[in-house]
Symmetry: C2
Subunit: 205 residues, 2 copies
DNA sequence: GTATTTATTTAGTGAACAATACAAAAATGT
DNA sequence: ACATTTTTGTATTGTTCACTAAATAAATAC
């Protein structure tokens, strides 16, 4: 069952992980339909058939890019949700989003928002999948806030789902603003404001 | 100088304004690059050359769609900015956005956000134009809040630009959430929360 | 009636799209 | 040495892209 055995055929000339990273950055900047397979391949420094051999097709390459995105650039939720208080969770998610969308070594904005927010009818499923992923993250937050209510960290009459929806709304807004060109220090003000709001909404003070 | 004279050549068989409305709805739902000229023409009930004769080309058709959008569906800012207090302005803009992005007779979401948030490199100018339009609206808000500070409606040390940026961030977030499938009554909660935040940020109470 | 103007229809243009067929090349297994 | 496996490069598939040339049709101008 181990996969340690030497590969048999002709060895791949390019670094698959690095090629995937290049694809991710192109999808990130231009969206799924804003970049062509020919463009992807040449930017990755490979021929089109090598891309298909290594990644399947354009859609699967996009999925793998999203996966890499979640493991590297957008690894926000897992560590944030593990924090002690609902407030810290909200803070970590919003600050993590600002870091993500203004990272100078990556495209501006958020792949989950701009990767396939709108598409041609042919790619509707892909757009739906991205919506589901955003809703999944919102669900994680809602569950975490629910737990905070049970723990007594949030008041009993707090609305966990609505709080999560509020944070996700600000998150998405921050992503659009970053793509619009709004700078990091301005987005950090938005985070401060939103956290002030969070405390008030959650009736923490 | 009057343009009341009868048109000379063969009369157009289709209603130009209605055709433009159909184009607007397609761009709204699928984005500039998510719908083809052939698709636009057939949905408008006309042949492709008629589209070019009436509207120039795809880009100009998009511009005219944006213009129609501003005059009809998205006529939010002018009436909102004329209201008496900064709080009422913020409230009208956020509620107007929710109405806009959840109107059951139009596509979900906001054309200014999803029309060309990301594009292929060839359409970068178009994406930049949409960013500029969003920033223009934000500028209107900032100016209005500045005036509110001068009027004593907002405290002297309020940050007009940051307040405008906050409202625009929530606005964009609401647009993304509507496209994600979040329902009107949930978005109205977000508006309530954001207005609570607005009062606190602006130090109105 | 004839000329002029504009819209419509049909049938295309070359370029770009996602995806592949095929054969040569480069590794391993026996 | 030779068969097997996988990647590579070249060339190409059929389709869709934005856009248009050309002929016909329907109105007004004089």
């Amino acid at each position: 069952m181990s996969e340690i055995s030497k590969t048999k055929g002709r060895p791949r000339k390019f670094d698959k992980e690095n090629a995937l990273k290049i694809a991710l950055h192109l999808f990130w900047r231009h969206g799924f339909e804003g970049v062509s397979v020919a463009n992807l391949a040449s930017s990755m420094g490979i021929n089109v058939p090598s891309l298909y051999a290594a990644f399947g097709n354009k859609e699967q390459l996009f999925f793998k890019s999203v996966e890499l995105y979640g493991k590297t650039n957008a690894n926000i939720y897992a560590p944030a949700l593990a924090l002690d208080t609902a407030y810290e969770v909200a803070q970590a998610i919003l600050l993590g989003e600002v870091d993500l969308v203004t990272n100078p070594e990556a495209p501006d904005g958020c792949l989950m928002v701009q990767g396939a927010l709108v598409t041609s009818p042919e790619s509707q499923e892909l757009s739906d999948m991205m919506s589901k992923l955003r809703l999944t993250a919102e669900g994680w937050m809602a569950d975490r806030f629910e737990k905070a209510i049970e723990d007594g960290d949030l008041p009993k009459n707090a609305d966990a789902k609505a709080l999560a929806c509020f944070i996700m709304t600000v998150n998405s807004g921050i992503a659009v603003q970053a793509k619009t060109g709004v700078k990091r220090h301005e987005l950090l003000k938005i985070v401060d404001y939103s956290l002030l709001a969070f405390r008030k909404i959650a009736m923490l003070d």
